[in-house]
């Protein structure tokens, strides 16, 4: 074959392939153009309806870290309470066991998910704020609620985690990392954000009023953590005791994690804490622990017992289940009871032990509601009005523990007892023999998990102090 024939052959082959090349003339549209109908893109999120949808999404993210979790996990409230005496780990997961033992590792995958969930929820709240301001600026109560969502995340991260939590941001996909903040600076950040919202939320309708109270209680909680007791009490003075900021559940969306994690014995990863447990078959008194399970207190109704035969998921820990929250019962993020307790702590700090006792008795002797649970009217405290601050502290924080069981307050209270009220960690936290193995550790807060090391400004907690 001559070169000419070969050239002709190549031309022929080229011609045979031309249909493909022809199809390739507008390849992007005709062959590579794709529809991905499952994808919701940026075009779908514009306008007031998009902003409203982002608000709902932000509320879902908030609910996720406040009282979500799912079968294998938990949330910040329950995880932080596990570090205290409220919960015991009835779990096979080392992640929960080490929290109960107060030896939380920085690579704890459950905590990593929770920490990430809170931070992500901050971003989702900011996305909603931006969208609402741009598209529905008249919805000031909704915008204020989104500020609360963001501020509450900053508040809880500062209340429960070590010193050294960064609060960066991401705009249009561009990540900005910031320096880690001390807990004090984190709380101050939250207060400033709440102030912004308080100025904005002036509506007097039921929703607007509810959000306003929410902002006030949240700010007061931060002020208490900052040691500004009288300012905190003043902030909640107008909040009615029956106020609640609820997050609600349904079987088709998300279940209340208090029920998921504790409600049924054979899958319970958490059991209600007690003042004792069983170590090597013997009763072991846990120093500093409140007997939530065995006290019979109507504020913490339970089923099962610390020595019962019904076991949790680890098949060795006796199951005690709380009955405050069922599967889809609403969970109060903040409440008027919290407001009264803020006032009570302010009275305690002011040395007004009689006032504090009166505040506590006022709560006990009137009907209260926690979520949907109606707390029976209780008798007034029988003990005499405390004569010393030490006695007052014991009384107040025991009462506070029963009122706020399972709501993520206890770790902040313990840290305050150390940081502000000058107690030592072994006077506050569970101490001694740990019922599963070894001894309790010395953690007084939660560590920022290793995933944060990607932030070049972060090199670990500034300190692990209370």
């Amino acid at each position: 074959m001559s070169i000419h024939r070969y050239q002709r052959a190549l031309m022929a082959g080229l011609a045979a392939a031309l249909p493909v090349l022809a199809a390739g003339c507008d390849v992007k549209q005709e062959l590579l153009g794709i529809q991905q109908p499952q994808i919701i893109g940026p075009d779908n999120v514009g306008g007031p309806t998009g902003a409203a949808a982002l608000r709902v999404g932000a509320l879902g993210a908030f609910q996720g870290w406040v009282m979500g979790g799912g079968g294998n996990s938990s949330n910040i409230a329950m995880f932080s309470d596990l570090l205290t005496d409220e919960w015991k780990s009835g779990d096979t997961f080392a992640q929960h066991n080490e929290a109960d033992q107060r030896v939380v590792q920085t690579n704890n995958s459950v905590l990593a998910g929770e920490y990430s969930g809170v931070q992500t929820a901050r971003g989702r709240a900011q996305n909603a704020i931006d969208a609402l301001i741009a598209n529905s600026p008249e919805l000031t109560s909704q915008i204020g609620e989104m500020y609360f969502l963001k501020a509450y995340a900053e508040l809880i991260l500062s209340e429960d985690f070590c010193n050294g939590v960064p609060f960066g941001f991401t705009v249009n996909g561009v990540v900005t990392y910031t320096q880690p903040l001390t807990n004090k600076d984190g709380l101050t950040l939250a207060v400033a954000r709440l102030d912004t919202a308080l100025k904005m939320v002036t509506a007097t309708d039921a929703f607007g009023q509810n959000i306003h109270y929410t902002l006030e209680v949240a700010k007061a909680r931060a002020l208490i953590d900052l040691g500004q007791f009288s300012a905190a009490a003043a902030m909640v003075a107008d909040v009615p005791t029956n106020y609640q900021y609820l997050t609600t559940f349904s079987q088709t969306t998300r279940d209340n994690q208090e029920w998921v994690g504790n409600g049924s014995a054979s899958v319970a990863r958490f059991v209600v804490g007690d003042s004792f447990d069983i170590v090597a078959g013997q009763k072991n008194v846990i120093k500093n622990a409140v007997p939530f399970a065995s006290a019979g207190d109507p504020r913490v109704p339970v089923t099962g017992s610390t020595t019962g035969a019904t076991k949790s998921i680890d098949v060795s820990t006796s199951w005690v289940g709380q009955t405050i929250w069922g599967r889809d019962d609403a969970y109060p993020v903040l409440s008027g009871i919290d407001a009264r307790l803020i006032e009570g702590e302010a009275q305690l700090n002011a040395g007004d032990y009689a006032g504090m006792t009166a505040t506590l008795n006022a709560l006990r002797t009137t009907s209260q509601t926690i979520g949907a649970y109606k707390v029976p009217v209780m008798p007034a405290l029988t003990a005499a009005t405390p004569a010393t601050k030490d006695v007052a502290l014991n009384l107040f924080f025991r009462e506070k523990a029963f009122w706020q069981f399972g709501r993520g307050y206890r770790l902040g209270d313990f840290r305050r007892l150390i940081r502000i009220y000058s107690r030592t960690q072994d006077q506050v936290f569970p101490t001694g023999a740990f019922f599963k193995n070894g001894q309790y550790g010395t953690d007084v807060n939660l560590p920022v998990t290793d995933g944060e090391l990607t932030n070049p400004n972060f090199h670990g907690c500034i300190d692990r102090n209370a």
Binding site: V20, L32, G57, Q119, V165, F169, G173, D328
Partner: protein
């Protein structure tokens, strides 16, 4: 308008080609002849006869005859190749318009090798390739003579460089990797191509409840003609984006001209689970203070004298005859195949039915319990591990004209599969067994009664009677078909087209009926059901044109160009409901319902390529090629990627200067360089939002809310996303020595750049996700592969052939890109599996410990263990070394063929997570409660469970359960006896008959303490070892009749 103009031009050009082609046909003739064996002169079917330097070639029919049409007039060389015979080339002169006769007599080759391979441009002689391609060869014979039930059985240990981890349960998903791990964040599995169509290889089911199943197993091995393993980018360049992890090319059987032939086979067999499940132990004792109360003692309490041992017990429910849910499963497979036809139309038709009941079952005590409750026992409870496959295949090959061939391949398949409750699953028998207290009757900490009042017999909390009521089943129907055409307008040009589809429709179903399944929490046994469907469609189209030019007497140029197009689409739905009424089994019957769907999702690739090959004196072959791809998954700022390729193959032993020795028959050097890629995923480059339905409190604020649809931002997107590209150099040689030993050695060095890595985003950035896919890193793989193929004895009465395959890999992460501050990322991950620069992917890191029985009491206590708080690198998580020995013995004048195959994997560590979990959670673990166990076993338990060191404040470590994963396995033993012709013809009137007895996965030698060193629960890059079994052991008998 532009499009119309292009199409018109194409039409005109094609028409011109046709006209030109018809003119060219005038100066041509025909070559006919017969191919026979030199010994015995018997006709040889399936010999490939081709005119050298042209695209003209045919396969001889059953009578050995062939006809080559449209051969250019003049002197021509005709080459004949057939497996098992030595290649032969003869010259002849073709006269225009006349027929020339050319017969071939082939001498038998002592070593049988596959000489023709299917490449991206068509069939090609293996000696022309500069890269290594492994071929399985006569798959049909393997399937008939060995115990091969699925694709994993077919592939395992057959090709050096390919690692196959078989599924743990009946027909479950295999894990296949070729030449190490290339990708940090994407999958590392090879792609499969069947008859030119991109095959479905996805997995389903799996997770924490069931073993994963795979579409790969839907293909019936008995319908396969050959499997080729294209190992790396140097060979896979022309397969384009997605081929960087290798390509498995499957060709199904074709009909041959000649009398109609029938093959009928029937197989029956047994299936066994030979795993070693975890033991449990109990030390009954008492405390010094209370001698009358029986308590559980553990070793460290005995050491501390706080507990005094009275007696011990040991229990392993999974392995005790009276308690185990395991029994001997059974298997049956029936297949009928026929093929034949004439020169104009040839056919292959196959139909098969396969049934397998796995070993998972229900123990007698559970059957008795259900009987006592008067609960009718469903078959699915007795046999939760079951598989049924029906398969029908029809392939037609037609010669429409002297220049046009058409082939249609079509395969319809139907699979029904039930999967047992296993893996990291609280409601599974293996889990409930390993969490046993170590005794059966009520005792310390164990009531022996379950939540439904059932006797537990030593199981932890649930027993198989309820566990097996959880039904998981999958049903698949599929159609794999292709239309292939060849058009040869000139003797020196061949154009091929191929269009096909792999369509699979899957429905999955999980059911716990009302009042069934384990009672794991209120509300009690209210029932639940979930249903999912997936519809997957792979469309493939390809055109190729190959032209040859005999530039001189010694030089042949071959130019190939073409293009291909792949469109992978899928959509799916899922729904669930809970609170079923009695008898309720559908989602619609549940009180609380939910569901979702994913509309059609697509990923498309369009590639074009050109290749030039120079053949010099039929002994030196130089190839250069380039392929360019566009892909719908690339970022919007990235349009096209180009993959180059070059290779050299040189049969040096044919050169005059090469020293000639009697013992050295052939020597071929080869080397190749090429690149290929992996696409980032269908939607990886897009900015997305996700729906989020939230229950929002009603206003005024009340205790219940309203489910409200919402949105949250999802992926950040990456407009610059491009494929990660792997380039590879490989070099090696092939040699035949002493006329009976073939040596094939390959060294490869592969580097993946622009590696797609999920770059971590610190949570504090409050981004919607914690990672974004970016082209950041690079990964290196290098290794050696050796294949020895020898006929050690070749006598009429006795023959012994041996194939040895061996490979060794080195894998290293070279770079992870830079972090947000511009500094190099050093590692991803902080746990026990990390991707760290300088180390292999998924490198293992653990805290080590030391121990010393200081007080000499034979018990290791926490203060006698010291844990190093720093993590240390421990090694590879994938096998570095794989060796196999495949022996074939021909006995009784070659009437009896015996195959024995043994293989080895080593160089890896496997984390025995089930054992670690057991010891962390269950005091009945051997290290805690077996007084006879070793100090090392005790130390592993102590370091895993207790705060250690002198101050008892040291961290824990599970390092004691990181184990050497190496093993030797007796993989296959089979014997096939060919009945004397007189018997086969009298008994079954068949041409011949074969009886095969075969066994698979017979025995394993290992120090690994888990259920099996090949146990796995997934198809990821590292083994998942929680609550699994080893690969099933098969004993099968098969009768094959040929008519």
């Amino acid at each position: 308008m532009k499009s119309i103009r292009w199409r018109l031009a194409a039409f005109v050009a094609a028409a011109a080609t046709l006209i030109g082609g018809s003119r060219a046909l005038s100066a041509q003739g025909t070559i006919t002849g017969r191919v026979t064996a030199a010994e015995g002169n018997e006709p040889l079917p399936e010999a490939r006869v081709a005119v050298a330097g042209t695209g003209i070639g045919v396969v001889s029919g059953q009578d050995g005859r062939y006809t080559l049409r449209n051969v250019p007039a003049g002197a021509q060389d005709v080459r004949v190749i057939r497996v098992g015979y030595q290649e032969r080339k003869q010259s002849t002169t073709v006269t225009s318009g006349q027929s020339t006769t050319l017969d071939f007599s082939l001498a038998r080759a002592i070593v049988q090798l596959q000489e023709i391979v299917t490449t991206a441009t068509g069939e090609q002689r293996k000696v022309e390739l500069g890269n290594s391609v492994a071929t399985l060869g006569d798959v049909s014979k393997r399937v008939e003579q060995e115990s091969i039930t699925d694709m994993a059985d077919l592939l395992v240990t057959k090709a050096p460089g390919m690692t196959v981890l078989q599924g743990s349960y009946s027909m479950t998903a295999p894990t296949i990797r070729i030449r190490g791990l290339n990708s940090v964040s994407l999958g590392n599995a090879p792609i499969f191509i069947i008859d030119g169509v991109r095959m479905q290889t996805g997995t389903f089911a799996g997770g924490n409840s069931n073993p994963p199943a795979s579409f790969i197993n839907d293909i019936d091995p008995s319908t396969i003609e050959d499997v080729e393993i294209v190992k790396g980018p140097s060979a896979a360049t022309l397969y384009g984006t997605d081929a960087a992890n290798g390509v498995v090319v499957i060709t199904t059987k074709r009909g041959r001209a000649g009398a109609t032939r029938w093959t009928w086979s029937a197989e029956q067999g047994a299936v066994d689970d030979r795993s070693h499940f975890l033991d449990t132990y109990m030390i009954f004792g008492h405390t010094p203070a209370n001698p009358s109360t029986v308590v559980r003692c553990v070793l460290i309490q005995i050491s501390a004298k706080t507990c005094i041992s009275d007696s011990t017990s040991h229990l392993n429910p999974m392995m005790m005859d009276s308690l185990t849910p395991l029994n001997i499963g059974r298997r049956g497979a029936y297949n009928v195949q026929t093929s034949g036809g004439n020169d104009a139309l040839r056919f292959f038709v196959s139909g098969g039915l396969e049934n397998e009941i796995g070993p998972s079952g229900m123990p007698d005590f559970s059957v008795r319990r259900l009987d006592s409750l008067k609960t009718p026992i469903r078959d699915e409870w007795l046999h939760p591990e079951a598989y049924q496959k029906e398969n029908f295949q029809a392939n037609l090959n037609a010669t429409l004209s002297p220049t046009i061939n058409l082939a249609v391949t079509s395969q319809f398949l139907k699979v029904d599969q039930r999967l047992p409750q296993v893996n990291n699953n609280f409601y599974s028998s293996p889990y409930q067994s390993m969490m046993s207290p170590g005794f059966t009757h009520p005792g310390p900490g164990y009531k022996g009664i379950g939540t439904l009042g059932e006797q537990l017999h030593g199981y932890n909390g649930f027993v198989p009677s309820e566990i097996n009521q959880s039904l998981t089943q999958d049903n698949i129907q599929g159609l794999v078909g292709a239309l292939q055409s060849d058009w040869r307008p000139f003797a020196w040009m061949q154009n091929s087209g191929n269009v096909g589809i792999d369509y699979r429709d899957r429905s999955g179903y999980n059911l716990c009926r009302f009042n069934e399944c384990p009672y794991f929490g209120d509300p009690k046994q209210v029932g639940s059901v979930s249903s999912s469907t997936s519809n997957l469609r792979n469309f493939s189209a390809k055109v190729t044109s190959v032209s040859s030019w005999q530039a001189s007497k010694s030089s042949l140029l071959q130019t190939s160009f073409g293009g291909d197009y792949t469109n992978q689409e899928d959509d799916n739905t899922s729904s669930f409901s809970t609170q079923l009424p009695p008898g309720g089994q559908t989602v619609g019957q549940g009180a609380v319902q939910g569901g979702g769907n994913q509309p059609s999702r697509a990923q498309k690739t369009l590639g074009v390529y050109v290749q030039e090959q120079l053949s010099f004196r039929d002994r030196l072959f130089l190839t250069a090629a380039v392929r360019s791809d566009q892909n719908s998954a690339f970022g919007v700022n990235f349009q096209r990627v180009a993959y180059p390729k070059a290779s050299l193959s040189w049969i040096m032993s044919d050169e005059s200067f090469f020293p000639h020795y009697n013992w050295l028959n052939t020597f071929r050097l080869r080397s190749a360089y090429g690149a290929s890629g992996v696409n980032p995923g269908a939607t990886a480059g897009l900015i997305t939002f996700s729906s989020s339905t939230v229950n929002i409190p009603s206003t005024p604020i009340v205790n219940a809310g309203t489910d409200t649809p919402g949105l949250v931002s999802g992926a950040l997107g990456n407009p610059n996303l491009k494929p990660e590209t792997s380039s590879e150099f490989e070099g090696g040689f092939e040699s035949r020595v002493f006329s009976r030993l073939n040596i094939d050695f390959t060294y490869y060095n592969k580097k993946t750049k622009d590696a797609l890595i999920n770059q971590q985003i610190a949570p504090s950035a409050a981004a919607p996700v914690t990672q974004v896919l970016r082209n950041l890193g690079s990964v290196a793989n290098s290794g050696i592969e050796l294949s020895l193929n020898a006929t050690l004895v070749d006598r009429k009465a006795f023959g012994w052939d041996l194939t040895v395959g061996a490979s060794h890999i080195s894998n290293k992460l070279l770079s992870l890109g830079n972090d947000a501050s511009g500094l190099p990322n050093k590692t991803i991950g902080t746990g026990t599996s990390r991707d760290s620069v300088g180390l292999p992917l998924n490198a293992l890191f653990y805290r080590t410990y030391t121990y010393n029985d200081a007080n000499g009491d034979g018990i290791i206590t926490p203060n006698e263990v010291t844990v190093n708080p720093n993590y240390q690198y421990m090694g590879y998580s994938i096998p570095r070394d794989v060796v196999s020995f495949q022996n074939g013995f021909d006995l009784l004048n070659r009437k009896l063929r015996v195959n024995v195959s043994v293989d080895y994997k080593g160089g890896l560590q496997v984390f025995n997570s089930a054992y670690q979990f057991q010891c962390a959670q269950n005091l009945a673990c051997q290290g805690a409660s077996d007084p006879t166990t070793s100090l090392a076993e005790q130390a592993a338990n102590v370091a895993n469970r207790y705060a250690t060191g002198a101050d008892l404040k040291g961290v824990t470590t599970p390092w004691g359960y990181l184990e050497n994963g190496q093993f030797w396995r007796l993989r296959e033993v089979s014997g096939t006896y060919t009945l004397p012709a007189v018997i086969s013809s009298r008994l079954a009137r068949s041409r011949d008959a074969q009886i095969t007895f075969a066994a698979r996965n017979l025995h394993v030698w290992t120090k690994y303490r888990g259920s099996d060193p090949e146990e796995t629960a997934g198809t990821g890059d590292t083994q998942a070892t929680f609550g699994n079994a080893g690969p099933r052991t098969y004993f099968t008998g098969r009768l094959v009749l040929h008519y």
